[in-house]
Amino acid sequence: MSSIELRVRLVDRRWRRVISRTLIYLAFAVITVVMLYPFYYMALNAFRSLDQYYAGHGFSLASWRNLFNALPVGRELLNSTIITLGAIALILVVSTTGGYAFAVLRYRASRLVFLVVVATMMVPMQSIIAPEYVNLANLGFINHRYGAILVYAALGAPFSTFLMTTYFRRIPEDVIEAALIDGLGYGRVFFLIMLPLALPAIFTIAVLQFIQVWDDLLIGLLFLQTPDVRPITVGLATIPSQHLLDVPLLMAGSLISALPAVVVYLIFQRYLMTGLTMGISK
């Protein structure tokens, strides 16, 4: 091969590299626009009056005034917060205790119980929605936030318990045995050693469940129907039909209801992503 030929080949390869890089970035730019445009559209039109929306330009806060007149937004955001934090707290209690028991405190049949708990991950809420509703109605739990909190906690518990169990299993047995030799009981081992070690997993569960519960509609729609207890998603999804043509109002409502979960996502996305992939990595 002559040196000229070689140089032509190298230049050729470099050009192909540049072209393929450019094409990749172009593709990514297109995908970025496709992914972000809907949110841009929402944010833009949330700050327009109805006339400005039709005209396609302008800035106004009228939509926000209309939104707050149409819905008790503050109240609904408070309800969403209470329900989400309540459910997260309950899920953390049952998943850390359960995970510790299944991973460390094995007893007869604990493996079987663990398998049953994991299997309940496959139960779709819609499959059990009819009896669930009837049961909670019979207990008088409808239109009380604690009713919805219990249901959300039950829905989040199987996966969270599974995640905590796999996490606790990875903690070396020596750590626990050393503490036991030092005279700590199994209860104190949990509070003084296991919980602090499990903080990353606890964070992951909290973030996953925050987004799950905050964004949900179905449970709130059925179990929290009165305006004073319903979360923001329910208020928005059941907005009286006379507002359905008021696009700026709908976009303002969408924006404020999406914002808390998006902020949590942007701050804690690392935990969310590990939580998502934890199910597959052994």
């Binding site: 995908i31 929402m42 007893y107 309940t120 059990i128 009819a130 669930e132 049961n135 199994y186 199910g279």
Partner: protein, 308 residues
Amino acid sequence: MEAEQPPSTWRHRRLRHRQTDPLAAQRRRVGLLFTLPGVGLIGALLIYPIGQTVYHSFTSWDGITSRWVGGATYSHLVHNPEFTQVLENNAILVLAIPVAIAFPLAVAFLIHGKIRGWRFFRSVFFLPTAVSWVVIGFISVRFFANDGILQHLLNNVGLGFVHPDMLSHERSALVAVMITFVWSMFGTNLIIFLAGMATIDEEIYDAARVDGAGSFSVMFRITIPLLKRFVQFTFIITLITAFTALFSLIFVMTGGGPGYGTTTLEFFIYEQAFSAGDFGLASTAGVVLFVAVAAVTLLQLRLLRIED
């Protein structure tokens, strides 16, 4: 000949030791105590109701009184023309799954080629995962509506004479739901594939490159076969999302319509129970949904285990 030793004497001794140990008794006691809250919650609010669903799928039930009718609700369901359409809608939804997997797989492959700023792209692509289906639904309606963004785009490129008006026709409304679904699943599946690619040994790529393999043959001959487990995992997740998590999207976007055009199984259950008041039929459809989800999940897990 050596004296036969039990394979793990130390372990037996340790087990015996543990059984007489007061610590072992404490372990069992605390173990039972610590499983109670979770098992109580899951038992009362997931396992008990699934039992009720199965029982009531054989009854005529309005939420207050129920009467045993055997398999009648099942034959009633099968002969219900609306239910046939519901199953058809679910079958069509399945067609979105390969698309929802192929796109992120291709992009994960590109991102893994060490693109500068890939963290930014990853965050952007994953954003819809953090946003409620209710919000996505409201925006999606603005996109597909007759005077919406899609129509504006068509007008701008000189195709203004085309009026897809997708939400007003049964099939196209379902396609609009599917497009929205694929769009929002993109980030989730992308993250899974990126995690999968991180598990592949870089040396394999180097070896392939030395052997003169191009990008495409690397992708199809090396990356995808090694990612099989992750592809199957995304398949389960995507299918379960399509079958059990689109309620809010459909509720906001189309309300199940036009007609029964976008009524999927999960939406049908909601409608039967809370609009028609037929809790028995809702339970029967609930069993169908549960069996479908469980069957796919178990089948996939089985496949995974056999190949390992």
